[in-house]
Symmetry: D3
Subunit: 135 residues, 6 copies
């Protein structure tokens, strides 16, 4: 019996959308307010979905306390109260759009989960804008 | 790398569920309070999901400002503060159930999006009743 | 020991803002989209606050089941799935703005509650627009 | 035209996670606070998803009033204001984890729905922990 | 400059409404489903409001980390994943209605806060039923 | 008949808590993660409350469209997608704590509202931390 389990977490971070290969004018035209050189920020809300067989001895797909701890170690410790552009090495050469942040989180969690569990990540940048990987 | 991006919007509208091929008694029996001849209304909440490849130059699947504008033009301008039965031509011969409204919105947005992007629409009629197309 | 207890309820209704003493032009200028002659609608969310002494034998200020039933009788039965302008006598000569609806609900509930209980009503027309009486 | 329709409901219940084949020590080590012998509880929030063809005569996949009634009979009447371990026969020999509760609800609803409708159930144990079947 | 600051927290607990001075019949008549002898439960959501002068050196009324820790020590450690009737001494002779739980929490926090800070507590038993002390 | 009307808005911003009169060590000790020199950020959610007499000709305390525009001009244009420390002159010598931001917003709106209307501002820094002025 395969079931999906979901765990939510959040982190607060500053970021800026900027492509260094472009002129300032093009960055401004494409990214608008999100290109502010002094950064802006968000309360990012994260939904982690793990799919697997239910263990009949525990009734669990995965221990939610262990999943919460894993999200803390891999996501909150790296991203919470940080400037994504300046403080997080993963975004040194990668624009920290919601899409890219979501994919980076998926990669960080994927390498810590057993192969028999499937993983999807949804990231809310605001309550009205959010992304999901894989689609 | 395919990612899903989501954008929320809303509109407030009046509607009535009524099948003109039926007697008043049958309409009342099937649709109950929703058949009120003087209409009732809802705060419709819309979730638009677009799936596509991330552009590495922007980190975007689609410019969320452009998607917001598209939803404004195709959905909000047609439906917001309207009577769906009387003011919206798409429902002249189509019962404005949540299912039908959702499908009409999907059609309106589908014809404005490039073919390489997939589209799904979720429509909340109330926080407890909602629909999604495609399923 | 005085405590406030709160109960939420909701109703879905159509309405139109229109002052019959004014020209159509003035109504349109003042009320804008809300003046649509064919009505629009909302999911109204209601918060009823009752303040009183806690009964030590029950631990209750008021039986929440009784308060729920009172809201059903006085508010939901009158307003749910109705056209406020056409179906509700209280708005025959009163513009059904959120402010007026809130005050009418307060009056309807006030006359059914014992004098030793205080009452306040908050009405959400949308999640971003709401009113409260008394202020 | 296949569409998914969703209906939400809720119930409040007590439960305890405990595997009778294990020692108290192992139960405590695996289930932690959830193993409290005196139980704890939750406001469970339920999302029922039904997928099917839209009936052109009604605009409905399924009558939402009928679905609401079905959820009331099969879920709320069994589980609301109950102790899942003591009052609900389905959990006599099954640990009432969110995963198992979700699967039991799916079974109860599945046997009452016509074969041409697909069913999925999402169960929120808290706003941050939830599960879905099928995955 | 006086400002109110708010901090939210939550705990999950089982409880039962029962007055031992009454017959089982009267308890059942007054408390209904909430009288279940095997208990039921809730995700209690807590809002703590502290009012005081803003310290110009920090911009704080109170350090929110300290307030979070205080709520953890006085509320979460006592109530989370507990049976309020059996595990919490404060309810040995006090019916654990939302009103009484709210007042007990206010007392526990009040004795830990400096006198120059005012305190109010709101407790959500469900998203539709909640209480506040002082009123 | 006095009624309170509420309007919600939001803005996304970066900020940092830092008292320049203190050493780095003291700033770190007092403000912790919020002292990150590279900033972090939030989705700030704003609730503006205006209290006044209802105009019987409109049913309004204040035109909500005008209030929305006022919030846009005085709050969103100044703060949205900005770094509060670097881009907003009001915080040149004022620590942008939630308390101070709330008070600055109150001042900005107060000078634009007629004297016969009362004003209160609530500012959510996260869904769990928020402040209100006046208290």
């Amino acid at each position: 019996m395969k079931i999906a389990v979901f765990r939510r977490a959040h982190f607060n971070a500053a970021h800026r959308l900027h492509n260094p290969a472009w002129s300032d004018e093009k960055n401004q035209a494409v990214f608008g307010l999100c290109n502010n050189p002094n950064y802006h920020g968000h309360n990012y809300e994260l939904e982690v979905k793990v799919v697997g067989e239910v263990d009949p001895e525990t009734g669990y797909v995965i221990d939610m306390g262990a999943l919460k701890q894993l999200i803390y170690e891999e996501v909150e410790q790296r991203f919470d109260h940080k400037n994504l552009n300046l403080d997080v090495p993963e975004f040194k050469d990668l624009i920290p759009s919601a899409e890219h942040i979501c994919f980076v989180i998926w990669q960080l969690l994927r390498q810590r989960l057993p192969d028999n569990l499937d993983l999807a990540v949804r990231l809310y940048e605001t309550p009205r804008n959010y992304v999901e990987y894989p689609a």
